[in-house]
């Protein structure tokens, strides 16, 4: 791999190597630019990925709250308390290493829902400055260059290319979902998954080990940035990926241009890497934190924050879940998380008085230790012989109906800097302020109810709804540096360039104006391919 000296002014520094950063690195390095990717975590390989739940619970692959704590509050009136509330992958490949790889595209409506359905008072619900059609060629790039398995469904938005790989086998959970959905009058179809269903681009086919969510893929079948775009970027000889590099500040000069970034290496030594331009791909929590921590005389409210909306409009997506128990063994633990989905409630009948919509899958998203504490029926025994019998009976017969939904961008839901708490490097910590919008809580409940009905239609002998409550924790970190045409109400323009700083680009979940129906990574990566394309074009035209 090429190595650059910190005082060598490279063309681009990319902060973060995850779903977005990996794609941008690939696009810019294959276009011939000299790129340094700074990743705060280590560079792991497949041999590091094991099925050890204790290590996974302990943050083997994820951010570490003991050295990098969060604080949380529901409203701006409260003083935030120290509490883990943000989870993301820490390491080359980012969260794409341990995610479950649901790769739903957004649909046309997601880009223009506010104008089609009406805005909502007290929210920042608005249209995107781009349309589905603008993004479609880049969705196709994700399908092919990252690797998505699937088959066209009845509600698919138009696609220019077919899926490169066939869908995964339905498993018993998919069979049950199809049965229940059809009884409900719905049209289920194969789940698009970024997991190789056949050998693909020199990668192995999925062995259906069942340890996707929370775990790295030991055979390289999961289409993470680690095994897809990062190797392509490195192979150009133009891209250096520098792990254990934690960026604390983006530096600017007195002309308001970015000059590089200050970061800590693995020994906590501070290093300044010079760059002609910076692309921030640090995720919807760390990206606004970095911008807010990059204050200067010219940018007193944080970098790229003349609008004041950096960190605002935080969205998680919602969830309305139900659980069912079936007569025979389903064995949900075997194989990928979801195989079939339902999109019939993507948009809802106006008479329901609900905003947004969603989709369903059937899944079994816990590994053994997590099961007894999460998916037993309400009021079950928690110890003793009856508990033992119940766990033994239910483990292989339990199915979770996950209702993935939209959620509204509320300006007071935000990532900001905690006024007192700092991390182990002395950098102000993430403070989250979040309360689900009342309209959203109604929506989640609606999905939990319909999910329970579908489980019963599938033949569940017992089904119940999981409680719906306002979230205090998320892995979907979206909307905090939103895209828009108006510099007064958005952070980046439709090419992911910061309105305020010509040579600063922001590309990750923070760019999203709305959050779709629950599966954002496909759209984050399509945006990253599009941004990479445009950034390369601007650079070639000396327009950066």
């Amino acid at each position: 791999m090429v190595k650059y000296r910190p005082d060598d002014e490279v063309d681009f520094v990319i902060v973060g190597s995850g779903a977005a950063g990996g794609v941008v690195a690939k696009e810019l390095s294959t276009a011939g630019f000299r790129v340094v990717v700074l990743e705060q975590g280590p560079w792991r390989t497949e041999k590091d990925f094991i099925h050890d739940e204790i290590k996974a619970f302990d943050g083997l692959l994820t951010n570490k709250w003991d050295v990098s704590p969060n604080t949380f509050r529901k409203t701006e009136k409260e003083t935030a308390k120290k509490q883990p509330c943000v989870l993301y992958g820490r390491g080359v490949g980012g969260t794409s290493v341990h995610f479950s790889a649901n790769y739903w595209r957004f649909r046309e409506i997601d880009f223009k829902e506010a104008s089609m359905k009406g805005t909502i008072a007290g929210t920042g619900f608005t249209d995107w400055p781009i349309t589905y059609q603008d993004l479609e060629p880049y969705y196709a790039k994700v399908d092919w260059e990252v690797g998505v398995a699937g088959a066209p469904g009845p509600y698919d938005p138009p696609r220019s290319r077919p899926y490169p790989m066939p869908p995964h086998p339905p498993k018993s959970m998919g069979v049950l979902l199809e049965k229940g959905a059809r009884k409900m009058g719905w049209k289920p179809f194969p789940a698009p998954m970024a997991i190789a269903s056949k050998p693909y681009n020199s990668r192995a086919q999925c062995v259906q080990c069942g340890f996707c969510i929370g775990f790295g893929c030991e055979v390289g079948a999961k289409s993470s940035s680690l095994v897809t775009v990062i190797p392509v970027a490195v192979a150009t000889g133009k891209c250096e990926v520098r792990p254990s590099s934690y960026v604390r500040k983006i530096e600017t000069n007195d002309r308001g241009r970015v000059t590089g970034v200050k970061y800590f290496d693995g020994n906590k030594t501070e290093i300044f890497q010079r760059a002609k331009a910076v692309v921030v791909c640090a995720n919807g929590a760390e990206t606004p934190r970095l911008l807010l921590n990059s204050k200067s005389n010219l940018f007193p409210n944080g970098l790229a924050n003349s609008s004041g909306v950096v960190g605002k409009h935080l969205m998680f997506n919602g969830a309305g879940n139900s659980v069912g128990v079936f007569e025979h063994e389903v064995n949900g633990y075997k194989g990928i998380v979801a195989t079939r989905i339902v999109w019939d409630l993507y948009e809802l009948d106006k008479t329901l008085g609900l905003v947004g919509g969603g989709g369903f899958d059937y899944r079994f998203d816990v590994t053994p230790i997590g099961f007894p504490g999460s998916y037993l029926p309400p009021k079950s025994p928690t110890w003793g012989k009856a508990f033992k019998r119940l766990v033994a009976h239910n483990y292989n017969r339990t199915v979770v109906c996950y209702g993935h939904t939209s959620s509204l961008p509320v300006p007071t839901n935000s990532i900001s800097l905690d006024p007192t708490l700092k991390d182990d490097w002395g950098v102000p910590a993430i403070r989250m302020t979040f309360q689900d919008h009342p309209q959203d809580l109604k929506l989640y409940k609606y999905f939990a109810e319909r999910g329970e009905e579908m489980l019963k239609a599938s033949g569940a002998v017992q089904a119940w709804q999981q409680p719906v409550e306002s979230a205090q924790f998320s892995v979907h970190l979206l909307g905090t540096c939103r895209m828009g045409n108006d510099p007064k109400s958005s952070v980046v323009d439709k090419y992911n360039r910061a309105h305020d700083v010509k040579n600063l680009f922001i590309v990750d979940g923070s760019s999203l104006v709305t959050c779709g129906r629950g599966q954002p990574t496909m759209t984050i990566q399509a945006l990253a391919f599009r941004a990479g394309d445009n950034i390369a074009r601007f650079a070639k035209q000396h327009d950066i």
């Binding site: 302990d58 086998p169 929370g214 099961f371 110890w383 012989k385």
Partner: protein
């Protein structure tokens, strides 16, 4: 915390799955796995502590027609955890065991240990701790589940007894039919 779903996956680590037992860093967890690979007598627990803890775990997952926490050697999992990644939890365990013995004495005058109580009295004592929401109850209950179901390298789940309990097969490679309903595909 009842939902270990995507959104709250790892809040499980902080608040759901045996909260106080799993708050250390990954290096300590690695040490635990290495440690467990070399079977040893108890490192942290005294014989009396181990006996009471084991009796408690055996009430959470009792032995009946099939093996339970005792046979799965869950107490060894706990000892190794307390020696490594859960070392910060030692004072809580000590306090909890003290309370457990105090309640054992109440249940049977002169009793010096929980383990020596009759089965019925043990159940009554555990039930009283559950009713009073004593933190030792839930912490130890969750650690028992973890000791049943964690990889055997951590000292519990002996002979994969825990995995056999729930019907989890650690083959890590599957093809159709995955379950009974695949026949309707």
């Amino acid at each position: 915390m009842t939902d270990l779903s995507r959104r709250q996956f790892i809040a499980a680590a902080g608040t759901g799955v045996a909260s106080v037992w799993f708050t250390a860093n990954a290096a300590d967890v690695l040490a635990a796995a290495r440690h467990a690979a070399s079977a040893q007598p108890f490192e942290v627990l005294s014989p009396a502590d181990a006996a009471d803890l084991e009796a408690f775990t055996a009430q959470i997952v009792p032995t009946d027609e099939t093996p339970g926490a005792r046979e799965a050697r869950v107490v060894y999992f706990m000892d190794r955890a307390l020696a490594t990644f859960a070392k910060d939890n030692r004072p809580n365990v000590e306090k909890g065991l003290k309370e457990l013995r105090a309640r054992a004495r109440k249940a049977q005058r002169g009793a010096t240990s929980f383990a020596a109580l009759s089965n019925d009295k043990q159940i009554a004592v555990v039930a009283s701790m559950e009713r009073d929401k004593h933190p030792f109850f839930d912490d130890t209950r969750q650690a028992t589940i973890a000791g049943m179901l964690a990889m055997p390298e951590y000292g519990g789940n002996y002979n994969k007894i825990g995995w056999k309990w729930i019907g989890f097969d650690d083959r890590f490679s599957w093809a159709a039919p995955f379950g009974w309903y695949d026949r309707d595909a």
